[in-house]
Amino acid sequence: MSDQVHISKRVKTGKEVIILNILAYSFCSIISILCLIPFIMVLTGSLSSEEAIVNNGFSLLIQDFSLDAYKTVFKDPLVVGKAYLVTILLTLGGTAIGLLLQTMTAYVLSRKDFEWRNGFSFFFYFTTLFSGGLVPYYMLMTITLKLQDSYLALLLPMIFSVYNLLIMKSYISSVPESLMDAAKIDGCGEFAILFKVVMPLIKPALATVGLFIALAYWNDWYNAMLYIKSESKYPLQYFLYRQVNNIEGYKKMLTNSGVSSSVINSVNLPTQTLKMALTIVVTGPIVLAFPLVQKYFVQGITIGAVKG
């Protein structure tokens, strides 16, 4: 600590800067550590034996090292691999299309010379408040559009989100109108303005919203649960969700009924540690990929700053 103060003095910064620095570093450190601890618990939990976890609960250390949970997850590596592939392709495709759709819409809604923008904004926003519920949506997907067991059933429901649209709109609104007007005078069409002038300026927003869309696709299991039947089309999350929830389902049923007891014997799976291992398998790749996205944040932000 004294070192830090010393250095700060040497570069002749004000007292406030030192206070701010101490505040900033300690605040961020505390929060970061709070956020990290449970993750360590998940990691060590996934590497512990089921018995140790059931008896002692979780700790920050590995108890009675065991790879059983991972063995259960990777019992069939080809199937997991396929599920990864489905999820990755879906995430990439969904993010690209979704980003384009949302940016295009947000651009129009933020143009001040478009008199109907409030009406359209309301048209979109209204849908976040009222919904018909699951049954009519399910009927639309399965009966009207016949999307059962199709990849489109995984892609379409999340391709457009009003929430992301509004975030995007607020960013685009911050781009000076004069830039767009100037481009127009230079003879650019609306599409050219969007792609050549606006998009490069809102790279941080594209990265942020892109990340949100990607995470939504990556974490989705619900649509797969509703619409996908063939096991070969399962995305990762649903594949793993089933492993955990089937166990929960068994339990629920067993406490409610007298189903023949031999069923129970086939359910001796690691439950707690399995959940932890699944979490690692599911979130691991995206956690590892996150620094790359972060880099892109920084790039986008600097370019934006220079040009602005």
């Binding site: 059931v54 008896n55 089937n246 929960e248 049923m253 189903v259 007891s261 069923v263």
Partner: protein, 532 residues
């Protein structure tokens, strides 16, 4: 055909010793089955006599593809096994059957979506309370099975399934499922640590007081006795049982099943016994007879016993034996044994609608679907395939009524949702070479249970139909969700205050409307039965 009937009879004869009470009863009742139960059956008079129906061969000249929904997961060898079943179905009924699964985690959501989206399928697994039977029937999802329909297209099922089972399946006079037929006892027993009983100087546990004594001894020793309050043991010791179709799986309204002449219902909160129970378990909970986490614990029932945290495991006979065996091998020093804490009371056979199969109201081939079900239920070849897998690959026969496992990994015994057509007259039992202590206690208890089946109570076959009071019913369930768990596990601060709050909430929700409706339905039911 002849051969099949013969083997059914043979199997019946062999299991007769075990199920003496019910076997003879089933036979009697088939002959005197009332034909006027279903309004719809009145107009199709031609097939009303069961003997004639059996001889009549329904038209199967057109090939159809049927679809069935089961609960659970497709096991690795499932398609192979059902391929064999399909060969039989093709030959015999000129149809094929494809199966889709609703997994354990999803079926709550997807079951109702299948019906609400009017999907085209024919057969579906169902069960009272835990697998959507009452709700789906009430919303018109299932095809009502008339007596003629069953006799015409599933004559063998009609011959096997006892009258009581059909009676239980009835909702508002209509049968919506083919119930399974196996005698499971509705009363739980306890797998218990023999070493602890010895340590505390407790020789036997046969009634409530001895059970409480053991619980207290455990708590004083700093040991958890169980994974929660033993409310069922208390109710059963008092002779009470749940009323089918009443709120919270029937637990809110009880009747005295041990006394067939007692036709009254007991609303749980009007019963002094409930307050008495709550006070006793509060004392136990405060002493530490179980963890204060029980309401949030997701641990399976057997976990506590197996990992040495609790002294007992309360479950049905079969499960208690299975886990008893496991504990025996893992910890021989525990001296695990099984006790019956309600030994004075005669035993009630569980409801047959705990598993069953229904036909979708939207099905285009209801007749063929029923015929297929008939095969599953009564054709030993199909039955063995569905329950055990392929002979020689997954299991081998020991005599005519037993099996030995060869390889269970890709098609577990009785774990492929074949429970809907459980038929104890042709079910093979497992052949065990070396019996352990637990096995011996199990055999004794099993024998004792079967020798002590209680007389029928007219309400055993009664099922409450909540359609007219659905609003109150839902409101009552909401209140039960809040108050009931803490009370029966003794976790409230003040029992009397909490019961008063619970009672007020239930009154607000309209419990009296439900009781009134239930009583009038029961009265009509009794009048109809006794009128026969």
């Amino acid at each position: 055909m002849k051969k099949r009937v013969l083997s059914v009879l043979l199997a019946l004869g062999m299991t007769c010793g075990i199920v003496s009470g019910c076997g003879s009863q089933a036979k009697n009742e088939v002959s005197e089955a009332p034909a006027d139960q279903l309004g719809e059956s009145a107009d199709s008079g031609e097939a009303s006599e069961s003997d004639e129906a059996t001889g009549q061969v329904p038209d199967t000249s057109e090939h159809v593809d049927l679809k069935m929904y089961l609960i659970g997961d497709r096991t690795a060898d499932f398609d192979e096994v059902y391929g064999k079943i399909n060969e039989i179905l093709e030959k015999k009924l000129n149809c094929s059957l494809s199966v889709d699964f609703l997994s354990w985690g999803d079926h709550d959501t997807k079951y109702s979506l299948l019906f609400s989206s009017q999907e085209d399928f024919d057969l579906i697994f169902t069960a009272s309370s835990w697998c959507h039977y009452e709700q789906t029937a009430a919303l018109g999802g299932f095809y009502p099975l008339s007596e003629d329909f069953i006799k015409t297209y599933a004559p063998d099922i009609w011959n096997v399934v006892p009258e009581m089972a059909w009676e239980q399946a009835k909702i508002n006079g209509n049968i919506y499922m083919v119930p399974n037929y196996q005698n499971e006892f509705g009363q739980d027993v306890m797998t218990i640590r023999g070493d602890l009983m010895e340590k505390y100087g407790i020789e036997k546990i046969t009634n409530w007081d001895e059970l409480v004594e053991f619980y207290k001894a455990c708590a004083n020793d700093g040991f958890y006795a169980s994974q929660g309050g033993p409310n069922y043991q208390y109710f059963q010791n008092k002779g009470y049982t749940i009323t089918g179709g009443a709120p919270h799986g029937g637990e809110m309204i009880l009747y005295n099943t041990q006394d067939p002449s007692d036709l009254s219902f007991t609303y749980l909160l009007d019963w002094d016994g409930f307050a008495d129970y709550c006070k006793q378990v509060k004392e136990l909970a405060d002493m530490g007879a179980w963890s204060s986490d029980v309401l949030n614990s997701t641990e399976e029932r057997q976990v506590g016993l197996l990992n040495g945290k609790t002294a007992t495991l309360a479950w049905n006979l079969g499960s208690c034996r299975n886990y008893g065996r496991q504990a025996e091998t893992e910890h021989p020093e525990w001296n695990v044994t099984i006790v019956d804490p309600v030994s004075s009371q005669p035993k009630k056979v569980n409801s047959y609608i705990n598993n069953g199969v229904a036909i979708n109201n939207n099905s285009k081939n209801k007749e063929r679907a029923m015929m297929v079900l008939n095969e599953f239920y009564t054709n030993p070849e199909v039955y063995d395939l569905a329950m055990l897998g392929i002979e020689g690959k997954h299991w081998e026969a020991v005599g005519d009524d037993q099996y030995k496992i060869i390889d269970e990994t890709n098609y577990g015994v009785s774990s492929n949702c074949n429970w809907g057509w459980n038929n104890m007259t042709i079910t093979r039992t497992e052949y065990i070479e070396n019996k352990t202590e637990v096995d011996k206690v199990y055999d004794q208890l099993d024998e004792a249970f079967n020798a002590n089946i209680k007389p029928d109570h007219i309400y055993d076959g009664f099922n409450f139909d909540s359609t007219n009071v659905s609003t109150q019913f839902a409101a009552v369930e909401a209140a039960v969700d809040i108050y009931y768990g803490p009370l029966v596990n003794g976790l409230v601060d003040d029992v009397d205050a909490s019961i008063a709050e619970f009672s007020a909430a239930l009154e607000n929700a309209g419990i009296r409307d439900i009781i009134a409706e239930l009583e009038s339905q029961a009265e009509a039911y009794v009048a109809e039965k006794q009128g026969n």
